[in-house]
Symmetry: C2
Subunit: 371 residues, 2 copies
Amino acid sequence: MLTVAPPTRLLLGPGPSPVHPRVYQAISQPVVGHLDPYFFQVNEEIRKGLQTCFGTTNEFTMVISGTGSAGMETAVTNFVEPGMKFAVFANGYFADRITEMGRRHGAQIVRLEKPWGESFTGAEAEDFISRHKPQLVAFIQAETSTGCYTPGKGICEAARKVGALTIADTVTSLGGMPVDVDAMGIDIAYSGTQKALGCPPGLAPITVGPRGVEYLRARKAPSVSWYLDLKLLLDYYEQAHRYHHTAPVSMFYALRESLAVIEEEGLPARLERHRKNHEAFVAGMESLGTAMYVAGEHRLWTLNTPRVPDGVNDLAVRKHLIAKYGIEIAGGLGPLAGKVFRIGTMGYGSSAENVSLLVDALRDAFAVAKA
Amino acid sequence: MLTVAPPTRLLLGPGPSPVHPRVYQAISQPVVGHLDPYFFQVNEEIRKGLQTCFGTTNEFTMVISGTGSAGMETAVTNFVEPGMKFAVFANGYFADRITEMGRRHGAQIVRLEKPWGESFTGAEAEDFISRHKPQLVAFIQAETSTGCYTPGKGICEAARKVGALTIADTVTSLGGMPVDVDAMGIDIAYSGTQKALGCPPGLAPITVGPRGVEYLRARKAPSVSWYLDLKLLLDYYEQAHRYHHTAPVSMFYALRESLAVIEEEGLPARLERHRKNHEAFVAGMESLGTAMYVAGEHRLWTLNTPRVPDGVNDLAVRKHLIAKYGIEIAGGLGPLAGKVFRIGTMGYGSSAENVSLLVDALRDAFAVAKA
């Protein structure tokens, strides 16, 4: 008799998202050693699949043995050195998190702040970066706290002019929206497995372009973190297969399978599916008289933030959805607490059926939570 | 059709070890959210199960979302501050690793060095610690590189006399040998899931005693690592359930189930099983004329290091075992490369059948690799 017996949930919050049945099958395949040739084969297949999703030819594309936040910390610990000027485009919770990580690593932080949910124009990026001349720039391509999308081309161009490297948080875009690392000119991008990739949480994909690799090679002092040291990880995964840590093999199986599912669907078709289901959800919200928090052109297709209707209690809605429908959505964070819902239409969960089910459930919940 | 199709291996190396079928079933159960009440229930059950294995009543017992090395780094980043005097009992590869992590965190390191495979007497510990008066002391209770066991009582007593905290690496002892955190007087212990707990790799159990918690509470500057910051993790797991990162839910299911399996067997019976199968393996090696590297009273029951017989090629033996029997064992690291095998009899893999299969396979392999 199994001890673990989770309730059935339809995960339509900001992640984890629903997992494809094949991925569940893959995660329970027999473990092999972390130095087994089969493990390295799986790892190579993962790297290829991730290159497609990231939109990059970067050789240096791999997986960190931790969740999305470990991916963020990997970017910071490898590319921030004490005293370095680090510019953050701050328009949400995860921008604040990378700011905090930068501070802990001794960076001198400068921030361009915008109200949560707003994006940045190319002119704003250019002005800010040319004024401060940072050595490193970070922005959140897909801000999970607000549903705002910032592709990043203007930021990366401005950064390149002053010789700064760019870090992009693509946790909620990878596999569901255009990330386009090479086309945007992003130097370092990291993500998580539990959003639009449709895999359980536990790994952080990361890619580093040639300028980033050059920086790593030239870097004198090692990163404070040994566990997330990209130079050591490179020796393990790509070159001598020198033992570093014991990779979480089962999670690698799961990610490998979810990338196979993506390859079979085709990335363009997958992105288009995310766009269509997002738009259907927005139309559904409009039919309920509920406006979206983020302006049309800046909306993520993966994570939607409809406003909490006037007179409706946010928490009561969420409780009703779980109790009656087994549907998980989330509330707002920080300044958006009580003001928006955070609703995921991503990965395996992005389907016409789920959108229609959810809109109906929200109609019911709004009525109940108003009464 | 599943893309992931691993070969069948009998994992008798230093980990990952064979996984119980129930654990594979558990890992593929439907994911719930990382803020779902069911997740926190699983987490509480894990904490209780870990307290038993660690031999502690520490409230502060939890799981880090990374592998065993992330557990080591958690201990270092939370308890090492720049300039601090950090004493390491160095008798193998993992002692060198924690030394390196300590250096990266700005510690002033002092080391008591012994040849790989030897342990430390209480008098040696007392002399070293009273001479250096460190603020923090680390030792490797179960040295996976050598098969040497250092329970730690003498070290912890000496450390307490000078007011130092102690860190113990219990990666290869937890669930297969007495760890006895409270009885030994260990302040901080971490481990991994893929050894004697019989679970896939991916999580790092950790426990912190009252003196460690007091240190954390009094600590002024935050740890350099945000991802591994125990104060923030405490807020997530134990108190307000304040969102920190998205926990790898599937891995938590796996660990929960492996702890249920341990509870059903009973820890004393489990340790006794490990002892018996280890002794049967040693007897088997003696019947092949092969001596053990570590002296009898210091041998781990989980990880055995028989010497490579004279005239036998280490690599040829390992290749033969994989090719003919699908059995994975490992060679020596560093100064022990080519001199010992590293053979795991741990977790679900510690059985009379596996020992007898392996001894027969080694007899065959020694003959082949000598020819």
